[in-house]
Protein backbone atom coordinates (compact mmCIF):
# COMPACT_ATOMS: atom_id res chain seq x y z
CA UNK A 1 0.00 0.00 0.00
CA UNK A 2 2.78 2.37 0.95
CA UNK A 3 4.53 1.56 -2.30
CA UNK A 4 1.48 2.37 -4.38
CA UNK A 5 0.98 5.62 -2.57
CA UNK A 6 4.59 6.57 -3.14
CA UNK A 7 4.29 5.82 -6.80
CA UNK A 8 1.19 7.96 -7.03
CA UNK A 9 2.84 10.87 -5.39
CA UNK A 10 5.79 10.91 -7.69
CA UNK A 11 5.58 13.30 -10.62
CA UNK A 12 5.05 11.89 -14.07
CA UNK A 13 7.58 12.58 -16.79
CA UNK A 14 5.93 13.16 -20.14
CA UNK A 15 7.46 13.57 -23.55
CA UNK A 16 5.60 16.05 -25.71
CA UNK A 17 6.87 15.66 -29.24
CA UNK A 18 8.98 15.47 -31.34
CA UNK A 19 6.11 14.13 -33.45
CA UNK A 20 3.30 15.85 -31.64
CA UNK A 21 1.02 17.61 -34.14
CA UNK A 22 0.73 20.83 -32.18
CA UNK A 23 4.42 21.40 -31.51
CA UNK A 24 4.68 23.01 -34.97
CA UNK A 25 7.48 20.83 -36.19
CA UNK A 26 9.89 18.67 -34.27
CA UNK A 27 10.06 20.33 -30.90
CA UNK A 28 10.41 17.96 -27.98
CA UNK A 29 9.38 19.03 -24.51
CA UNK A 30 10.14 16.92 -21.47
CA UNK A 31 7.44 17.82 -19.03
CA UNK A 32 7.20 16.76 -15.41
CA UNK A 33 3.62 16.90 -14.24
CA UNK A 34 2.02 16.56 -10.89
CA UNK A 35 -1.61 15.86 -11.52
CA UNK A 36 -2.29 18.35 -14.28
CA UNK A 37 0.17 20.98 -13.16
CA UNK A 38 3.45 21.34 -14.96
CA UNK A 39 6.34 21.41 -12.51
CA UNK A 40 9.23 21.37 -14.89
CA UNK A 41 9.48 21.82 -18.61
CA UNK A 42 12.67 21.23 -20.58
CA UNK A 43 12.77 21.90 -24.32
CA UNK A 44 15.02 19.74 -26.48
CA UNK A 45 15.92 21.11 -29.87
CA UNK A 46 18.09 19.98 -32.76
CA UNK A 47 15.88 17.45 -34.55
CA UNK A 48 15.89 19.61 -37.66
CA UNK A 49 19.51 20.70 -37.55
CA UNK A 50 20.95 21.09 -41.05
CA UNK A 51 24.07 23.07 -40.32
CA UNK A 52 23.04 26.18 -42.23
CA UNK A 53 25.71 28.34 -40.61
CA UNK A 54 28.48 25.92 -41.45
CA UNK A 55 27.17 25.32 -44.98
CA UNK A 56 27.25 29.05 -45.67
CA UNK A 57 30.97 29.17 -44.89
CA UNK A 58 31.69 27.08 -47.97
CA UNK A 59 29.52 29.12 -50.31
CA UNK A 60 29.78 32.47 -52.01
CA UNK A 61 27.52 35.23 -50.75
CA UNK A 62 24.99 34.83 -53.53
CA UNK A 63 25.02 31.06 -53.31
CA UNK A 64 24.17 31.08 -49.61
CA UNK A 65 20.95 32.98 -50.25
CA UNK A 66 18.72 29.92 -50.82
CA UNK A 67 19.90 28.54 -47.48
CA UNK A 68 18.22 31.39 -45.67
CA UNK A 69 14.91 30.46 -47.27
CA UNK A 70 14.90 27.32 -45.24
CA UNK A 71 15.37 28.91 -41.85
CA UNK A 72 11.85 30.05 -41.28
CA UNK A 73 10.13 28.41 -44.17
CA UNK A 74 6.80 30.18 -43.74
CA UNK A 75 8.36 33.61 -44.08
CA UNK A 76 11.29 33.03 -46.38
CA UNK A 77 11.09 36.47 -47.97
CA UNK A 78 11.97 38.29 -44.75
CA UNK A 79 14.86 35.91 -44.10
CA UNK A 80 16.26 36.66 -47.54
CA UNK A 81 15.91 40.37 -46.93
CA UNK A 82 17.66 40.08 -43.57
CA UNK A 83 20.54 38.21 -45.14
CA UNK A 84 20.80 40.62 -48.07
CA UNK A 85 20.81 43.61 -45.73
CA UNK A 86 23.60 42.08 -43.68
CA UNK A 87 25.73 41.44 -46.78
CA UNK A 88 24.93 44.92 -48.10
CA UNK A 89 26.04 46.42 -44.80
CA UNK A 90 29.25 44.44 -45.00
CA UNK A 91 29.98 45.60 -48.54
CA UNK A 92 28.76 49.14 -47.95
CA UNK A 93 26.21 49.17 -50.75
CA UNK A 94 22.63 50.32 -50.67
CA UNK A 95 19.64 49.14 -52.63
CA UNK A 96 17.91 51.74 -54.86
CA UNK A 97 14.68 53.28 -53.67
CA UNK A 98 12.37 51.21 -55.87
CA UNK A 99 13.95 48.01 -54.63
CA UNK A 100 13.52 49.24 -51.06
CA UNK A 101 9.82 49.81 -51.58
CA UNK A 102 9.40 46.42 -53.23
CA UNK A 103 11.25 44.76 -50.36
CA UNK A 104 9.12 46.48 -47.76
CA UNK A 105 6.01 45.45 -49.64
CA UNK A 106 6.95 41.80 -49.90
CA UNK A 107 8.22 41.70 -46.32
CA UNK A 108 4.82 42.84 -45.11
CA UNK A 109 3.08 40.34 -47.39
CA UNK A 110 5.20 37.67 -45.75
CA UNK A 111 4.24 38.98 -42.35
CA UNK A 112 0.58 38.66 -43.26
CA UNK A 113 1.01 35.14 -44.61
CA UNK A 114 3.06 34.06 -41.61
CA UNK A 115 0.60 35.51 -39.13
CA UNK A 116 -2.28 33.89 -40.97
CA UNK A 117 -0.57 30.52 -40.70
CA UNK A 118 0.06 31.22 -37.03
CA UNK A 119 -3.56 32.20 -36.48
CA UNK A 120 -4.90 29.14 -38.25
CA UNK A 121 -2.70 26.62 -36.46
CA UNK A 122 -2.86 28.33 -33.07
CA UNK A 123 -6.63 28.37 -33.18
CA UNK A 124 -6.65 24.78 -34.41
CA UNK A 125 -4.52 23.72 -31.45
CA UNK A 126 -6.87 25.41 -29.04
CA UNK A 127 -9.95 23.84 -30.57
CA UNK A 128 -11.26 26.54 -32.92
CA UNK A 129 -11.14 24.60 -36.14
CA UNK A 130 -13.07 26.95 -38.38
CA UNK A 131 -10.52 29.75 -38.51
CA UNK A 132 -7.93 27.52 -40.14
CA UNK A 133 -9.42 27.42 -43.63
CA UNK A 134 -10.57 31.03 -43.44
CA UNK A 135 -7.00 32.11 -42.75
CA UNK A 136 -5.61 29.86 -45.45
CA UNK A 137 -7.99 31.30 -48.02
CA UNK A 138 -6.21 34.68 -47.83
CA UNK A 139 -2.80 33.09 -47.41
CA UNK A 140 -3.33 31.29 -50.68
CA UNK A 141 -3.88 34.62 -52.41
CA UNK A 142 -0.56 35.93 -51.11
CA UNK A 143 1.27 32.77 -52.12
CA UNK A 144 -0.24 33.05 -55.59
CA UNK A 145 1.08 36.60 -55.74
CA UNK A 146 4.53 35.36 -54.78
CA UNK A 147 4.27 32.85 -57.58
CA UNK A 148 3.52 35.52 -60.16
CA UNK A 149 6.33 37.60 -58.75
CA UNK A 150 9.19 35.13 -58.68
CA UNK A 151 7.98 31.66 -59.68
CA UNK A 152 8.00 30.06 -56.25
CA UNK A 153 5.44 30.00 -53.51
CA UNK A 154 7.30 29.20 -50.35
CA UNK A 155 11.05 29.20 -50.78
CA UNK A 156 11.25 32.29 -52.87
CA UNK A 157 14.92 33.46 -53.07
CA UNK A 158 13.61 36.70 -54.50
CA UNK A 159 15.70 39.51 -52.98
CA UNK A 160 19.26 39.83 -54.19
CA UNK A 161 22.29 41.54 -52.72
CA UNK A 162 21.83 45.15 -53.76
CA UNK A 163 18.23 44.90 -54.90
CA UNK A 164 15.70 42.34 -56.04
CA UNK A 165 15.73 39.56 -58.60
CA UNK A 166 13.23 40.89 -61.11
CA UNK A 167 10.81 43.74 -61.45
CA UNK A 168 7.21 43.59 -60.30
CA UNK A 169 4.57 43.30 -63.01
CA UNK A 170 1.50 45.46 -63.39
CA UNK A 171 -0.68 42.41 -62.83
CA UNK A 172 1.02 41.82 -59.47
CA UNK A 173 0.48 45.38 -58.30
CA UNK A 174 -3.18 45.45 -59.33
CA UNK A 175 -3.92 42.15 -57.65
CA UNK A 176 -2.09 43.17 -54.49
CA UNK A 177 -3.99 46.45 -54.31
CA UNK A 178 -7.24 44.56 -54.61
CA UNK A 179 -6.05 42.33 -51.79
CA UNK A 180 -5.37 45.31 -49.54
CA UNK A 181 -8.90 46.55 -50.21
CA UNK A 182 -10.48 43.30 -49.16
CA UNK A 183 -8.16 42.13 -46.43
CA UNK A 184 -9.30 44.33 -43.46
CA UNK A 185 -12.82 42.92 -43.76
CA UNK A 186 -11.37 39.43 -43.73
CA UNK A 187 -9.49 40.18 -40.51
CA UNK A 188 -12.88 41.20 -39.16
CA UNK A 189 -14.18 37.78 -40.13
CA UNK A 190 -11.51 35.97 -38.17
CA UNK A 191 -12.26 38.15 -35.20
CA UNK A 192 -15.98 37.39 -35.43
CA UNK A 193 -15.14 33.72 -35.16
CA UNK A 194 -12.86 33.71 -32.13
CA UNK A 195 -12.40 37.14 -30.65
CA UNK A 196 -15.09 36.93 -27.96
CA UNK A 197 -15.72 33.22 -28.07
CA UNK A 198 -15.97 32.03 -24.48
CA UNK A 199 -13.84 28.93 -25.02
CA UNK A 200 -11.17 30.97 -26.74
CA UNK A 201 -11.17 33.48 -23.88
CA UNK A 202 -10.88 30.73 -21.30
CA UNK A 203 -7.99 29.12 -23.11
CA UNK A 204 -6.07 32.33 -23.68
CA UNK A 205 -6.83 34.94 -21.01
CA UNK A 206 -4.41 34.84 -18.11
CA UNK A 207 -2.49 31.94 -19.66
CA UNK A 208 1.26 32.04 -20.17
CA UNK A 209 1.70 35.37 -18.42
CA UNK A 210 5.17 36.84 -18.59
CA UNK A 211 6.09 40.25 -17.21
CA UNK A 212 7.81 42.92 -19.28
CA UNK A 213 10.99 42.70 -17.24
CA UNK A 214 11.12 38.94 -17.51
CA UNK A 215 10.44 39.11 -21.24
CA UNK A 216 13.40 41.43 -21.73
CA UNK A 217 15.57 39.17 -19.59
CA UNK A 218 14.60 36.21 -21.75
CA UNK A 219 15.47 38.41 -24.75
CA UNK A 220 12.11 37.84 -26.40
CA UNK A 221 11.33 39.88 -29.50
CA UNK A 222 8.61 40.62 -31.99
CA UNK A 223 4.94 40.34 -31.11
CA UNK A 224 5.78 38.02 -28.22
CA UNK A 225 7.67 40.87 -26.56
CA UNK A 226 5.20 43.57 -27.53
CA UNK A 227 2.38 41.58 -26.00
CA UNK A 228 4.10 42.10 -22.64
CA UNK A 229 4.00 45.89 -22.88
CA UNK A 230 7.48 46.60 -24.21
CA UNK A 231 7.61 49.12 -27.00
CA UNK A 232 10.32 47.67 -29.17
CA UNK A 233 9.97 47.28 -32.90
CA UNK A 234 13.11 47.23 -35.05
CA UNK A 235 11.14 48.69 -37.94
CA UNK A 236 10.69 51.84 -35.83
CA UNK A 237 13.83 51.86 -33.69
CA UNK A 238 16.35 51.00 -36.40
CA UNK A 239 14.48 51.52 -39.67
CA UNK A 240 15.74 49.61 -42.67
CA UNK A 241 14.45 49.49 -46.26
CA UNK A 242 11.53 51.88 -46.65
CA UNK A 243 10.09 51.60 -43.16
CA UNK A 244 10.98 55.19 -42.28
CA UNK A 245 9.06 56.38 -45.33
CA UNK A 246 5.74 54.78 -44.46
CA UNK A 247 3.35 55.31 -41.59
CA UNK A 248 2.26 52.53 -39.31
CA UNK A 249 1.38 51.88 -35.68
CA UNK A 250 3.02 49.41 -33.36
CA UNK A 251 0.48 47.42 -31.38
CA UNK A 252 1.33 46.89 -27.71
CA UNK A 253 -0.44 44.62 -25.26
CA UNK A 254 -0.17 45.22 -21.54
CA UNK A 255 -1.11 41.98 -19.85
CA UNK A 256 1.52 39.71 -21.39
CA UNK A 257 -0.80 36.73 -21.73
CA UNK A 258 -1.72 34.63 -24.74
CA UNK A 259 -4.76 36.76 -25.48
CA UNK A 260 -2.79 39.99 -25.62
CA UNK A 261 -0.24 38.49 -27.96
CA UNK A 262 -3.13 37.34 -30.12
CA UNK A 263 -4.54 40.87 -30.16
CA UNK A 264 -1.10 42.26 -31.07
CA UNK A 265 -0.75 39.96 -34.04
CA UNK A 266 -4.27 40.69 -35.26
CA UNK A 267 -3.49 44.41 -35.18
CA UNK A 268 -0.20 43.74 -36.95
CA UNK A 269 -2.17 42.16 -39.78
CA UNK A 270 -4.04 45.44 -40.25
CA UNK A 271 -0.90 47.53 -39.95
CA UNK A 272 0.94 45.36 -42.48
CA UNK A 273 -1.97 45.85 -44.83
CA UNK A 274 -1.63 49.59 -44.34
CA UNK A 275 2.11 49.47 -45.11
CA UNK A 276 1.54 47.48 -48.31
CA UNK A 277 -1.04 50.01 -49.45
CA UNK A 278 1.30 52.92 -48.89
CA UNK A 279 4.15 51.10 -50.62
CA UNK A 280 2.03 50.48 -53.70
CA UNK A 281 0.85 54.08 -53.82
CA UNK A 282 4.35 55.48 -53.38
CA UNK A 283 6.21 52.95 -55.57
CA UNK A 284 8.55 55.06 -57.73
CA UNK A 285 10.14 54.17 -61.04
CA UNK A 286 13.83 53.49 -61.07
CA UNK A 287 16.54 50.90 -60.84
CA UNK A 288 15.90 47.69 -58.94
CA UNK A 289 19.56 46.75 -58.54
CA UNK A 290 22.16 49.09 -57.11
CA UNK A 291 24.51 50.54 -59.75
CA UNK A 292 27.55 49.38 -57.78
CA UNK A 293 26.02 45.98 -57.23
CA UNK A 294 27.66 44.36 -60.30
CA UNK A 295 30.83 44.12 -58.24
CA UNK A 296 28.93 41.80 -55.98
CA UNK A 297 26.01 40.41 -57.93
CA UNK A 298 25.90 39.06 -61.44
CA UNK A 299 26.52 41.50 -64.30
CA UNK A 300 23.75 42.19 -66.84
CA UNK A 301 23.10 39.15 -68.99
CA UNK A 302 22.65 40.96 -72.27
CA UNK A 303 26.26 42.17 -72.03
CA UNK A 304 27.84 38.91 -70.94
CA UNK A 305 28.37 37.53 -74.42
CA UNK A 306 29.34 40.86 -76.03
CA UNK A 307 31.73 42.29 -73.51
CA UNK A 308 34.79 40.26 -72.56
CA UNK A 309 35.37 41.92 -69.20
CA UNK A 310 31.79 41.30 -68.19
CA UNK A 311 32.13 37.66 -69.12
CA UNK A 312 35.30 37.30 -67.05
CA UNK A 313 33.52 39.07 -64.22
CA UNK A 314 30.58 36.72 -64.54
CA UNK A 315 32.85 33.68 -64.31
CA UNK A 316 34.89 34.86 -61.35
CA UNK A 317 31.82 35.98 -59.43
CA UNK A 318 30.22 32.58 -59.71
CA UNK A 319 33.27 30.44 -59.12
CA UNK A 320 35.10 32.53 -56.52
CA UNK A 321 32.65 35.11 -55.22
CA UNK A 322 33.25 38.85 -54.99
CA UNK A 323 36.98 39.52 -55.23
CA UNK A 324 36.88 42.87 -53.46
CA UNK A 325 35.17 41.80 -50.27
CA UNK A 326 36.15 44.00 -47.33
CA UNK A 327 37.45 42.53 -44.10
CA UNK A 328 35.42 42.99 -40.99
CA UNK A 329 32.37 41.91 -39.13
CA UNK A 330 28.84 43.20 -39.14
CA UNK A 331 25.58 42.55 -37.33
CA UNK A 332 22.32 43.39 -38.99
CA UNK A 333 18.91 42.78 -37.46
CA UNK A 334 15.50 42.84 -39.07
CA UNK A 335 11.99 42.49 -37.75
CA UNK A 336 10.65 39.24 -39.16
CA UNK A 337 7.15 37.96 -38.32
CA UNK A 338 8.53 35.89 -35.45
CA UNK A 339 10.74 38.54 -33.88
CA UNK A 340 14.26 39.79 -34.32
CA UNK A 341 16.29 37.97 -36.92
CA UNK A 342 19.94 38.91 -36.87
CA UNK A 343 22.78 37.96 -39.15
CA UNK A 344 26.29 38.28 -37.83
CA UNK A 345 28.76 38.06 -40.68
CA UNK A 346 32.51 37.86 -40.42
CA UNK A 347 34.46 38.39 -43.62
CA UNK A 348 38.15 37.67 -44.04
CA UNK A 349 38.42 39.26 -47.47
CA UNK A 350 37.80 36.15 -49.55
CA UNK A 351 34.62 35.71 -51.54
CA UNK A 352 33.00 33.56 -48.90
CA UNK A 353 31.83 34.45 -45.41
CA UNK A 354 34.31 33.37 -42.75
CA UNK A 355 31.47 32.94 -40.31
CA UNK A 356 27.75 33.47 -40.50
CA UNK A 357 25.92 33.42 -37.22
CA UNK A 358 22.15 33.54 -37.22
CA UNK A 359 20.30 34.96 -34.26
CA UNK A 360 16.94 33.34 -34.77
CA UNK A 361 13.90 34.45 -32.79
CA UNK A 362 12.42 30.95 -32.52
CA UNK A 363 15.48 29.60 -30.72
CA UNK A 364 15.28 32.34 -28.12
CA UNK A 365 11.54 31.90 -27.75
CA UNK A 366 11.81 28.17 -27.23
CA UNK A 367 14.29 28.77 -24.44
CA UNK A 368 11.67 30.94 -22.72
CA UNK A 369 9.06 28.17 -22.86
CA UNK A 370 9.83 26.85 -19.33
CA UNK A 371 9.17 30.30 -17.90
CA UNK A 372 5.79 30.35 -19.62
CA UNK A 373 4.74 26.79 -18.90
CA UNK A 374 5.92 26.06 -15.39
CA UNK A 375 3.18 26.35 -12.83
CA UNK A 376 0.44 26.18 -15.44
CA UNK A 377 -1.80 23.37 -16.62
CA UNK A 378 -0.64 20.79 -19.11
CA UNK A 379 -3.27 21.86 -21.65
CA UNK A 380 -1.83 25.36 -21.59
CA UNK A 381 1.53 24.10 -22.82
CA UNK A 382 -0.03 23.86 -26.27
CA UNK A 383 -1.33 27.41 -25.99
CA UNK A 384 2.15 28.58 -25.01
CA UNK A 385 3.87 26.81 -27.89
CA UNK A 386 1.39 28.45 -30.24
CA UNK A 387 1.70 31.92 -28.79
CA UNK A 388 5.47 32.20 -29.09
CA UNK A 389 5.02 31.41 -32.79
CA UNK A 390 7.89 29.01 -33.18
CA UNK A 391 9.13 27.48 -36.41
CA UNK A 392 11.59 24.71 -35.77
CA UNK A 393 13.45 25.09 -39.03
CA UNK A 394 14.68 28.41 -37.75
CA UNK A 395 15.20 27.21 -34.20
CA UNK A 396 17.47 24.30 -35.12
CA UNK A 397 18.91 25.95 -38.25
Amino acid sequence: MEQIKERHERELVLNLGPQHPSTHGVLRLKIEVEGETVIKCTPYVGYLHRGTEKLAEGMTYLQALPLTDRLDYVSSMTNNIGYCLAVEKLFGIEAPIRAKYIRTMIAEMTRISSHLLWLGTHALDLGAMTVFLYAFREREWILDLFETLCGARLTVSYPRIGGVRNDVSQEFIDSLYEFTNIFPSKVGEYETLIDKNRIWLMRTKGVGVISAEEAINWSLSGATLRGCGVNYDIRKKHPYDAYDLVEFDVPIGLNGDVYDRYLCRMEELRQSNRIIRQCIEKLPKGAILAPDAPKFTLPPKDKVLDNMETLIHHFTLITKGPMTAPKGEVYCCTEVPKGELGFYMVSDGTGKPYRMRIRSPSFVHVSALPALCEGGMIADVIANIGTIDVVLGECDR
Binding site: L65, G151, K285
Partner: protein, 196 residues
Protein backbone atom coordinates in the same frame (compact mmCIF):
# COMPACT_ATOMS: atom_id res chain seq x y z
CA UNK B 1 5.23 56.58 -25.21
CA UNK B 2 5.69 57.57 -28.84
CA UNK B 3 2.65 58.47 -30.83
CA UNK B 4 2.82 55.46 -33.10
CA UNK B 5 2.17 53.11 -30.20
CA UNK B 6 -1.28 51.60 -30.20
CA UNK B 7 -2.41 49.84 -27.03
CA UNK B 8 -4.51 46.83 -28.00
CA UNK B 9 -5.25 45.45 -24.55
CA UNK B 10 -8.95 45.37 -23.79
CA UNK B 11 -9.92 46.07 -20.23
CA UNK B 12 -13.48 45.08 -20.95
CA UNK B 13 -14.86 43.12 -23.82
CA UNK B 14 -18.36 44.56 -23.69
CA UNK B 15 -19.74 48.06 -23.42
CA UNK B 16 -21.76 47.52 -20.25
CA UNK B 17 -23.11 44.90 -17.88
CA UNK B 18 -26.25 44.53 -19.97
CA UNK B 19 -24.40 43.54 -23.13
CA UNK B 20 -22.18 41.20 -21.18
CA UNK B 21 -25.19 39.43 -19.64
CA UNK B 22 -27.01 39.25 -22.97
CA UNK B 23 -24.00 37.67 -24.64
CA UNK B 24 -23.52 35.25 -21.80
CA UNK B 25 -27.04 33.92 -21.77
CA UNK B 26 -27.99 34.16 -25.42
CA UNK B 27 -24.62 32.88 -26.75
CA UNK B 28 -24.52 35.94 -28.99
CA UNK B 29 -20.83 35.64 -29.90
CA UNK B 30 -21.34 32.05 -30.94
CA UNK B 31 -24.45 32.94 -32.93
CA UNK B 32 -22.44 35.60 -34.80
CA UNK B 33 -19.72 33.10 -35.60
CA UNK B 34 -22.24 30.53 -36.75
CA UNK B 35 -23.92 33.08 -38.98
CA UNK B 36 -20.62 33.70 -40.72
CA UNK B 37 -19.94 30.02 -41.26
CA UNK B 38 -23.50 29.42 -42.46
CA UNK B 39 -23.13 32.15 -45.05
CA UNK B 40 -20.16 30.37 -46.61
CA UNK B 41 -22.34 27.32 -47.21
CA UNK B 42 -23.84 29.09 -50.17
CA UNK B 43 -20.54 30.22 -51.62
CA UNK B 44 -18.26 28.37 -53.98
CA UNK B 45 -15.64 26.27 -52.18
CA UNK B 46 -12.17 27.78 -52.00
CA UNK B 47 -10.44 24.41 -51.89
CA UNK B 48 -9.46 22.46 -54.98
CA UNK B 49 -9.96 18.74 -55.52
CA UNK B 50 -6.35 18.29 -56.45
CA UNK B 51 -5.73 15.12 -58.44
CA UNK B 52 -8.94 15.67 -60.42
CA UNK B 53 -8.58 19.41 -60.85
CA UNK B 54 -5.05 20.43 -61.64
CA UNK B 55 -3.89 23.94 -61.11
CA UNK B 56 -2.05 25.70 -63.89
CA UNK B 57 1.20 27.09 -62.58
CA UNK B 58 1.78 30.80 -63.06
CA UNK B 59 4.12 31.91 -65.86
CA UNK B 60 7.72 31.57 -64.84
CA UNK B 61 7.09 28.92 -62.22
CA UNK B 62 10.24 27.18 -61.06
CA UNK B 63 9.49 23.52 -61.61
CA UNK B 64 11.08 20.57 -63.35
CA UNK B 65 14.34 21.20 -65.19
CA UNK B 66 14.86 21.16 -68.93
CA UNK B 67 17.83 21.60 -71.21
CA UNK B 68 17.18 24.02 -74.01
CA UNK B 69 17.37 22.49 -77.47
CA UNK B 70 19.14 24.51 -80.12
CA UNK B 71 16.73 24.67 -83.07
CA UNK B 72 19.59 24.89 -85.58
CA UNK B 73 21.60 21.86 -84.57
CA UNK B 74 18.89 19.92 -82.82
CA UNK B 75 21.20 19.30 -79.90
CA UNK B 76 21.47 20.94 -76.50
CA UNK B 77 22.51 24.58 -76.33
CA UNK B 78 24.77 23.76 -73.40
CA UNK B 79 28.51 24.24 -74.04
CA UNK B 80 29.65 22.59 -70.83
CA UNK B 81 31.19 25.62 -69.13
CA UNK B 82 30.12 24.26 -65.75
CA UNK B 83 28.91 27.54 -64.29
CA UNK B 84 25.55 26.09 -63.31
CA UNK B 85 27.27 23.27 -61.43
CA UNK B 86 29.57 25.77 -59.71
CA UNK B 87 26.66 27.98 -58.72
CA UNK B 88 24.27 25.27 -57.54
CA UNK B 89 23.91 25.53 -53.74
CA UNK B 90 22.92 21.90 -53.38
CA UNK B 91 25.45 20.61 -55.91
CA UNK B 92 22.98 18.50 -57.84
CA UNK B 93 24.27 19.12 -61.38
CA UNK B 94 26.91 16.81 -62.82
CA UNK B 95 28.64 17.69 -66.09
CA UNK B 96 31.19 15.51 -67.90
CA UNK B 97 32.91 16.84 -71.00
CA UNK B 98 35.47 15.44 -73.42
CA UNK B 99 37.43 16.55 -76.46
CA UNK B 100 35.61 16.03 -79.76
CA UNK B 101 36.99 14.97 -83.10
CA UNK B 102 37.71 18.55 -84.21
CA UNK B 103 39.25 19.43 -80.80
CA UNK B 104 36.02 21.05 -79.63
CA UNK B 105 34.43 20.62 -76.22
CA UNK B 106 31.65 18.05 -76.22
CA UNK B 107 29.19 17.67 -73.37
CA UNK B 108 29.13 13.95 -72.86
CA UNK B 109 26.86 13.72 -69.87
CA UNK B 110 24.67 16.32 -68.23
CA UNK B 111 22.80 15.00 -65.25
CA UNK B 112 20.56 16.57 -62.64
CA UNK B 113 19.64 14.85 -59.43
CA UNK B 114 16.17 16.32 -59.11
CA UNK B 115 15.64 15.08 -55.56
CA UNK B 116 18.45 17.26 -54.29
CA UNK B 117 17.48 20.38 -56.21
CA UNK B 118 16.15 23.31 -54.15
CA UNK B 119 14.60 25.16 -57.12
CA UNK B 120 16.37 28.44 -56.47
CA UNK B 121 16.96 28.93 -60.23
CA UNK B 122 20.49 30.21 -59.63
CA UNK B 123 21.65 27.83 -62.39
CA UNK B 124 19.39 29.68 -64.81
CA UNK B 125 20.87 32.99 -63.77
CA UNK B 126 24.40 31.65 -63.96
CA UNK B 127 24.08 30.23 -67.46
CA UNK B 128 25.45 32.72 -70.02
CA UNK B 129 23.89 30.85 -72.97
CA UNK B 130 20.26 30.43 -71.84
CA UNK B 131 20.83 26.70 -71.98
CA UNK B 132 18.96 25.52 -68.90
CA UNK B 133 15.41 26.24 -67.85
CA UNK B 134 12.96 25.42 -65.11
CA UNK B 135 9.61 24.46 -66.63
CA UNK B 136 6.13 24.97 -65.26
CA UNK B 137 5.63 21.28 -64.46
CA UNK B 138 5.26 20.51 -60.80
CA UNK B 139 3.76 17.02 -60.50
CA UNK B 140 6.46 14.50 -61.31
CA UNK B 141 6.56 12.29 -58.26
CA UNK B 142 8.04 8.85 -58.86
CA UNK B 143 8.47 5.60 -57.04
CA UNK B 144 12.22 5.24 -57.26
CA UNK B 145 15.22 7.46 -56.91
CA UNK B 146 16.44 6.40 -60.33
CA UNK B 147 13.37 7.80 -62.05
CA UNK B 148 14.17 11.24 -60.69
CA UNK B 149 17.75 11.21 -61.90
CA UNK B 150 17.52 13.14 -65.15
CA UNK B 151 20.05 12.50 -67.88
CA UNK B 152 20.74 14.77 -70.84
CA UNK B 153 18.26 13.03 -73.13
CA UNK B 154 15.48 13.19 -70.59
CA UNK B 155 16.20 16.86 -69.90
CA UNK B 156 16.04 17.63 -73.61
CA UNK B 157 12.80 15.71 -73.84
CA UNK B 158 11.40 17.83 -70.99
CA UNK B 159 12.06 20.89 -73.08
CA UNK B 160 10.16 19.48 -76.04
CA UNK B 161 7.31 18.26 -73.88
CA UNK B 162 6.71 21.19 -71.61
CA UNK B 163 7.92 24.28 -73.38
CA UNK B 164 5.75 25.35 -76.25
CA UNK B 165 6.58 28.38 -78.37
CA UNK B 166 5.09 31.15 -76.27
CA UNK B 167 6.26 29.62 -73.00
CA UNK B 168 9.87 29.65 -74.16
CA UNK B 169 9.77 33.35 -74.89
CA UNK B 170 7.96 34.28 -71.71
CA UNK B 171 10.32 32.23 -69.63
CA UNK B 172 13.50 33.89 -70.77
CA UNK B 173 12.04 37.35 -70.86
CA UNK B 174 11.03 37.36 -67.25
CA UNK B 175 13.51 35.17 -65.46
CA UNK B 176 16.89 35.26 -67.12
CA UNK B 177 18.53 38.15 -65.40
CA UNK B 178 19.83 40.55 -64.34
CA UNK B 179 19.47 42.74 -67.40
CA UNK B 180 20.82 46.17 -68.19
CA UNK B 181 17.33 47.61 -67.70
CA UNK B 182 17.41 46.58 -64.04
CA UNK B 183 20.08 49.16 -63.32
CA UNK B 184 18.20 52.20 -64.59
CA UNK B 185 14.77 53.69 -64.78
CA UNK B 186 12.63 52.73 -67.73
CA UNK B 187 9.19 53.69 -68.94
CA UNK B 188 7.55 50.29 -68.88
CA UNK B 189 8.00 49.79 -65.15
CA UNK B 190 4.85 48.96 -63.25
CA UNK B 191 3.50 51.55 -60.86
CA UNK B 192 0.22 52.21 -59.13
CA UNK B 193 -2.33 53.48 -61.65
CA UNK B 194 -4.78 55.04 -59.21
CA UNK B 195 -7.83 53.70 -57.47
CA UNK B 196 -10.25 52.07 -59.84
Amino acid sequence: MEEYVKIVTRDRLYKDEMESLMTKFLFLEIVRGMRLTLKTMFKKPVTRRYPKEKRQAKPGFRGLHALVRNPETGNAKCVGCGLCAAMCPSKCIYIYTREGDNHEKVVERYEIEVLRCVYCSLCVEACPFQAIALTETYDYAAFSKQELFYTKDRLLKNWDDFMTEEKKKRYFESFWGPKTSFFRENESQATFKGKS
